[in-house]
Amino acid sequence: MTYIAKPKIDMPGERRNEIGLRQRDYEGALSTLCAGCGHDSITAAIVQAFWELAIPPEKVIKLSGIGCSSKTPAYFISGAHGFNSVHGRMPSVATGALAGNRDLVCIAVSGDGDSLSIGFGQFGHAVRRNINMLYIIENNGVYGLTKGQFSASADPGSKAKYGEVNRMKAIDPVATTIALGGSFAARSFSGDREQLVPLIKAGLRHPGCAVLDVVSPCVTFNDHVGSTKSYAHTREHYYPAVHTDFIPPSKEIKASYDEGEVMPVELHDGSRLLLKKTDADYDPSSRSAAMRYLEEHSSQGQVVTGLLFISPDLPEMHTISGTAAQPLARTAYEDLNPGQAALAELQKDLK
């Protein structure tokens, strides 16, 4: 992963968030991705979301696997600990890190190759364990770093840069998440910052594994005619179904909403999501309805976006296993060591 330090310039009059940080305090190194890469727009949305939520950078861990997407954690929140792991195995590292310290705010960035091919298993199990993390899949349907092979999310009929046509079914991470019993499944488009930022915020606050699939065209290998993940194709077939507004707990909800059009979802920390539905009968709390909805639209070639499924009540890993509230990594040795007396007592049964 190439790395160029980004100069931090003080600009007088810059806005500061609740903890006194400027938006640029959430930036990272300069991106070395191709000019116009969708991933850079996602990075910008991540920076904005973290700044708006006023999360202290040192509380954040940012993880990734291997691939273009996985380079991006270097490009945001330089004050956070980062972990660029091995290909397809980021979820297990995130799981371990949160097992050790459950207070950390975890953002993970993966790609379609990283999560839907080599790492499909780990992706599925992070969803199954409902690890408390935001799991972004920067989805361009193509292997960029190895120069243009199809990924598992390439749509049937889509054309590679040099004319090869994909004939296999695409794996949809959103449908997969819902089918696996996941607690949060959303989709957006790298070019739609207005939709993306609230979804990132919602995913960060969601107490479980928030999967956010972001269609992010590859300008070099997958932005041509015939590609279903190009800018042109995505814009044309873009179907914003469920727009989301995120309202943190500290702020009073001012927006009024009309029943039937907007649906509030309260998260456990008191923050709220307002779901503005394009389709009046859409119910993001119904797993079966969400699956049906996805299927109906994808058969018409539409890329449905928005918060498509949420169940904030599903227990996350630590709730299920009964882990102490105090992070294990911060628990004093005195509270972990049973001592000689206990050892002697235990051994009475071994005689």
Partner: protein, 602 residues
């Protein structure tokens, strides 16, 4: 005649899933309570129910714990393996079988004594439920043995009362079964046999424990909080034990919350990733596995080596290659663990010889991993891990403080100008690390890709080499920090040496005692860790011929010695045992004698 007072081997052949384990445990514990040094080896199939299984109990007043290569008393309960079991009895020995169904045509040895006991018939007569009849048949042979071999029936009674404290009704049935066997033997045979037990010393300072339980206890006492694993024989019982001890010792007294997190991963790759993630976050984390698991974890192990993430891997070795024989023992992962992963990688490996060292080395492994910021392996095996060993009671030093190595907290970070993750400030090859969640000044980016001493990405030739060369400096630091070998000097000055490690220790000691009686003397160095420290080099330097004893086909430790030291392979005759059974002392004795004979002839 074979076997004598407090020096005998009983082997019991049964079918797995019939409840023989509790009968065998009872037998072994009774001998233990009589003060006789005893060890039990479970030779079992990779199967749940219906296949042959054996349990070998060795009692030895001198405290020899390895297999002897002898069987003095065979309890042949399994018709399927009868012919093989019959053949295995040492001349002069005894065979006990269930004579409910006669097997006259198969009894063709006149150099042993065959004793028939109608165990099934007796149990069918006295017990009505089918399942109970099967279970009691096993308890009844313990009764037969108690008469034939002088095993104290009062102790058997006490043990049954302790076992079934919650269900006293079961005590009576079990006692009845014991008495049935006991009475029959008293009435029909001349009791006791020459091979028998007599109450001797005091075992109260000792315990019976398997290595996996001891290693799990070590993890608890080391302060490990995160365990990630994927079930694999023969390591599974390590995590089972850790879970059990954590439930007992690691619940918050007020809230009942767990001060531990155990994750059953989807595979070994994920288990390794979880260990790395947890260690990186500042917890002590480990995974127990066996050879196939290490193969799968290798990519992450190389990552941890290069990115310098402390991590502890228990490899309870089983027979390879591939799936091999999952319920049989070997020392076949020495090379695999020493150099696991692609690229130039090398890792500290600890070799516990028994459950005592599983406990100690589990604790040491966490300290070493964090001090050296690297993966550390504890290389146990099925024999140590799953069999019951008699060891001195475990002790815990209340003054122990875990050594977390070089970690900068928020306060320490304020005292320095800038934090660089991979900078060798102290000249020992070990940089400083920080935990996430502490301070933005300590933030850094962990990567398995090329990085320079400041932690930045690099593709620069010099910057890359600078870091991998520094890792070698760290390796030299490791050399002096890992456990030193244990030396047993021969009674006489000798040019011969023996090197062994792990579970071969008992067999080597016994073989050397027997060889000394034949006036062959050798110094013995038991290696306890890789990298080899100066003690190993000195030993090789001061002995002309050093036998290297190990339980694998390819003489893996010997190869490591040849790679890593100036030793000449001509001077290192290998002594190898790798059929899946724990190495018997007779194998070593014979191999050494054969070598000497050949040398004399040459």
């Amino acid at each position: 005649m074979t076997g004598s007072v407090n020096d005998f081997v009983i082997k019991i052949a049964t079918v797995n899933g019939t409840g023989s384990a509790s009968a065998n445990g009872l037998l072994m514990k009774a001998l233990f309570r009589m003060g006789v040094p005893v060890t039990g080896k479970n030779l079992f199939p990779s199967n749940i129910q219906g296949l042959p299984t054996w349990y070998e109990v060795r009692a030895n007043h001198k405290g020899y714990m390895s297999r002897s290569g002898r069987v003095d008393v065979m309890v042949a309960m399994n018709a399927q393996t009868y012919a093989k079991d019959l053949a295995e009895v040492s001349p002069g020995g005894f065979l006990i079988y269930d004579s409910t169904w006669p097997r006259r045509d198969m009894m063709d040895r006149d150099d042993i004594t065959i004793l028939g006991v109608p165990l099934a018939a007796m149990c069918n007569e006295h017990f009505s439920v089918a399942r109970i009849r099967i279970l009691m048949k096993n308890i009844a042979y313990v009764g037969v043995l108690s008469a034939l071999m002088g095993i104290d029936r009062n102790i058997l009674k006490t043990l049954l009362e302790e076992t079934f404290a919650a269900k006293p009704k079961l005590v009576d049935g079990n006692l009845q079964a014991i008495n049935l066997g006991y009475q029959y033997a008293q009435e029909h045979f001349s009791c006791p046999l020459p091979a028998r037990a007599e109450t001797m010393g005091d075992n109260s300072g000792h315990i019976l424990i398997d290595g996996n339980s001891a290693a799990a206890l070590g993890c608890v006492y080391a302060g490990a909080t995160v365990g990630a694993w994927y079930p694999i024989t023969p390591s599974t019982s390590l995590m089972d034990a850790f879970q059990g001890y954590c439930n007992r010792f690691r619940k918050d007294p007020e809230t009942g919350e767990n001060r531990f997190c155990i994750i059953q991963a989807e595979d070994e790759l994920a288990a390794a990733g979880m260990v790395l993630g947890a260690s990186w976050s500042g917890a002590r984390a480990f995974t127990p596995t066996s050879g196939p698991g290490i193969s799968l974890m290798s990519e992450f192990i190389g990552f941890a080596y290069y990115a310098e993430i402390p991590s502890v891997f228990f490899d309870v070795q089983r027979v390879g290659p591939s799936t091999g024989m999952p319920t049989r023992t070997q020392q076949c992962d020495v090379m695999l663990c020493a150099f696991a992963s692609h690229g130039d990688t090398r890792h500290p490996v600890l070799f516990p010889a028994d459950p005592s060292e599983c406990f100690e080395m589990a604790v040491q492994a966490f300290d070493l991993a964090e001090c050296l910021q690297t993966p550390v392996f504890v290389l146990s095996d099925l024999d140590i891990g799953m069999n019951d060993w008699m060891i001195p009671e475990l002790q815990w030093d209340e003054n122990f403080k875990p050594d977390r190595g070089k970690v900068l907290d928020s306060k320490a970070l304020q005292g320095i100008e800038k934090f660089h993750r991979y900078l060798d400030v102290d000249g020992d090859g070990i940089p400083y690390r920080t935990y996430p969640g502490e301070d933005p000044k300590g933030a850094y980016f962990v990567r398995g890709s090329g990085h320079n001493r400041y932690g930045g990405y690099t593709e620069d030739a010099n910057e890359y080499q600078d870091v991998v060369d520094r890792l070698l400096v760290k390796w030299e630091t490791a050399r002096e920090r890992v456990p030193r070998p244990v030396l047993r000097k021969a009674a006489k000055k000798t040019r011969f040496g023996v090197i062994a490690y792990g579970s071969s220790d008992g067999a080597v000691n016994e073989a050397l005692d027997r060889l000394a009686e034949q006036d062959f003397h050798a110094d013995y160095l038991r290696i306890r860790a890789f990298p080899f420290n100066t003690d190993v080099l000195d030993f090789l330097d001061t002995h002309d011929t050093v036998f290297v004893v190990e339980q694998n086909r390819d003489a893996q430790l010997r190869s490591l010695l040849i790679i890593e030291t100036p030793a000449d392979d001509e001077n290192l005759p290998p002594v190898l045992h790798y059929n899946g059974m724990p190495i018997p002392s007779s194998c070593i004795e014979q191999a050494v004698l054969a070598y000497l004979e050949q040398e004399a002839a040459a």
